[in-house]
């Protein structure tokens, strides 16, 4: 079966700086694929290349089997997009937003109007058809943007940081809906810098940094391949001194300010040294995708 999205050697630069430097991607139909990376890693530019909005300097991409940007317009007829920043029509009601957006796909008003209740039900906006957009909360706007992206019943859905700025309730609702969409057989390509989100939703993720994909695989496989299974985070004024005596008890230690991250397969002995230390607080947890992400992309701030 054809890949839902396939990219080979995509390159793009702005003002002499390479933003995307040779990206390869392959997303199978029905897969939920996450593109992870710090701010400025090139995620959004990669999505814009895949949607055929901009032209790569070299490389090629196919979306729903069609070459982009050459046949991007046809390809986008089968694709839904949730952009990073909501761009709903503020002058319209919820229903008008869906109907007007459907027109861009050549859908008849009647056909869209018939689907509005189901779309709003899906987005947790039932009964809000007549509400004006400025009266909606941030989470509601995000869900309406998701409903709008589904107006053409797309095979592939692109979401650029779908839950940034949302409260936990809204985030969990979006996650639940995205799972439902994958169960329906739709392909999802999302970017995020919430590792928890990627770990929960994505069958496969690619970690992107400085325009390159530096790791790719299933979240669990990436954790197993790149990081020790157990983590102890130790925090407090005595952490530095404690660090010296505990160094040999962990496979790997990382110091960030007053916090020490200890990684290893067996950390029982290390945990024993923390007993009765009231100058130290600690957290023992299994390793997660965020540990992998920070190990691979570093802890330096990106803006």
């Amino acid at each position: 079966m054809n890949a839902a999205l396939e990219a080979r050697g995509l390159r793009k630069s702005y003002g002499g700086t390479q933003v995307v430097c040779g990206v390869d991607l392959c997303v199978a139909p029905g897969e939920c694929f996450g593109l992870l990376g710090p701010n400025g890693a090139g995620k959004t530019t990669t999505l814009r290349l895949c949607l055929g909005h901009i032209e790569p300097e070299s490389g090629a991409a196919r979306l729903v089997g069609l070459p982009v940007p050459e046949r991007a317009r046809e390809a986008r007829a089968q694709v839904g997009v949730v952009p990073q920043f909501d761009n709903l029509d503020p002058d319209f009601t919820v229903e008008e937003n869906l109907i007007v957006y459907g027109r861009y796909f050549g859908l008849r008003d009647r056909a869209v109007r018939a689907r509005v209740p189901a779309l709003l039900e899906f987005a947790g906006l039932a009964g809000r058809a007549g509400a004006r957009v400025p009266t909606l909360s941030g989470g509601m706007k995000r869900r309406l943007t998701l409903a709008r992206a589904l107006v053409n019943d797309p095979r592939v859905l692109f979401l650029d940081e779908p839950t940034t700025g949302l409260d936990p309730q809204a985030r969990h609702l979006i996650w639940e809906r995205l799972r439902r969409l994958t169960q329906e057989g739709r392909t999802i390509v999302l970017t995020t810098h919430f590792m928890e989100e990627a770990e929960r939703l994505c069958h496969r993720v690619a970690i992107m940094d400085r325009g390159r994909i530096i790791a790719e695989g299933a979240p669990r496989a990436l954790i197993a391949a790149h990081i020790e299974p157990q983590v102890v985070e130790v925090h407090g004024p005595g952490a530095q001194d404690w660090c010296a005596q505990a160094r040999h008890l962990a496979a790997r230690l990382e110091r960030v300010g007053e916090t020490v991250f200890c990684y290893g397969a067996e950390l029982e002995a290390l945990l024993a040294t923390l007993g009765g230390r009231d100058d130290l607080t600690y957290l023992h947890r299994p390793a997660n995708l965020e540990d992998v992400f920070l190990k691979l992309t570093g802890r330096d701030l990106r803006d």
């Binding site: 032209e55 986008r76 694709v79 952009p83 761009n87 709903l88 002058d91 319209f92 008008e96 861009y104």
Partner: protein, 263 residues
């Protein structure tokens, strides 16, 4: 973006229609205040100057009243301003502030489709302003014959010309303030040079030549003649110049907007 793609002529398509309809739906919600805002200024000027200054001037302009002279000028200039404001401030809001264009091009429409929709929409606003002026002028008794109805297609053509120029300026704007340059340095002098308030023959010879290159001059000549019940002597030239401004202006707008958004 490859040069060939940047400069490729836009391919005509009816895909612009839903974009036009989107803007119409927004306008429709506040149509009356919007129309009044477009008309109040030229109407105050027309009646104030037409009657006030007209009383002083008498019938000095080829045996016709000054009001009748101004009516053609203001029909053209109100078309110009309505199309211009829509293609500057409103289009900029949709392009840059609300990111409406970005939402639309995620559907199977191209940037050219969006621009064509904005172009025809802004021209429609110009047309509506021109048509409303025509109604007022006719009610005031200054439309001489059914020829005045031919001022409607003139308003549409002038609307297309000024909407195209406005969209080209929009593609270069870094904020709303940028538009002041275009309004004060281009449109205001054009108002003075295009025979809106006084015949261009009153200008120094050199400036008369400049006037002949301005789109507003050609729109004024056509509109004024039609209100008086006659076709301007050089009507084909006037139409050709307006059509050239519309076509080349739109092409320029497409290239500049591609450079801005697709690079």
């Amino acid at each position: 973006m490859q040069r060939a793609r940047l400069y490729a002529p836009p391919v005509p398509s009816l895909r612009f229609v839903p974009v036009w309809r989107r803007n119409f739906l927004v306008w429709h919600k506040l149509a009356l205040p919007s129309l009044l805002a477009n008309l109040a200024d030229p109407l105050i000027m027309l009646f104030g100057l037409g009657w006030g200054l007209g009383a002083v001037l008498g019938e000095g302009l080829g045996g016709r009243s000054y009001f009748a002279f101004l009516a053609g000028g203001f029909l053209a200039s109100s078309t110009m301003y309505a199309a211009t404001f829509e293609s500057l401030y409103s289009a900029f809001s949709r392009m840059h502030v609300q990111k409406t264009w970005e939402a639309i091009v995620n559907a199977p429409l191209t940037l050219e489709d969006v621009l064509a929709g904005e172009w025809v929409w802004a021209a429609t606003k110009g047309f509506a302003a021109g048509a409303a002026m025509l109604v007022v002028v006719a009610l005031a008794g200054y439309a001489e014959s059914a020829w005045a109805l031919a001022a409607l297609p003139v308003a549409l053509l002038a609307g297309l010309a000024f909407a195209a120029l406005g969209l080209a300026v929009n593609a270069l704007a870094n904020g709303y303030d940028f538009f002041s340059y275009y309004l004060t340095l281009v449109l205001t002098p054009m108002m003075m040079l295009s025979g809106v308030f006084f015949p261009v023959t009153a200008l120094p010879a050199a400036l008369e030549g400049v006037a002949a290159a301005l789109p507003l001059y050609h729109a004024v000549e056509l509109a004024r003649g039609l209100l008086a019940g006659e076709l301007a002597a050089r009507a084909p030239l006037h139409v050709a110049v307006l059509a050239a401004y519309a076509a080349l202006g739109f092409y320029l707008a497409v290239v500049l907007t591609r450079r801005r958004l697709l690079a």
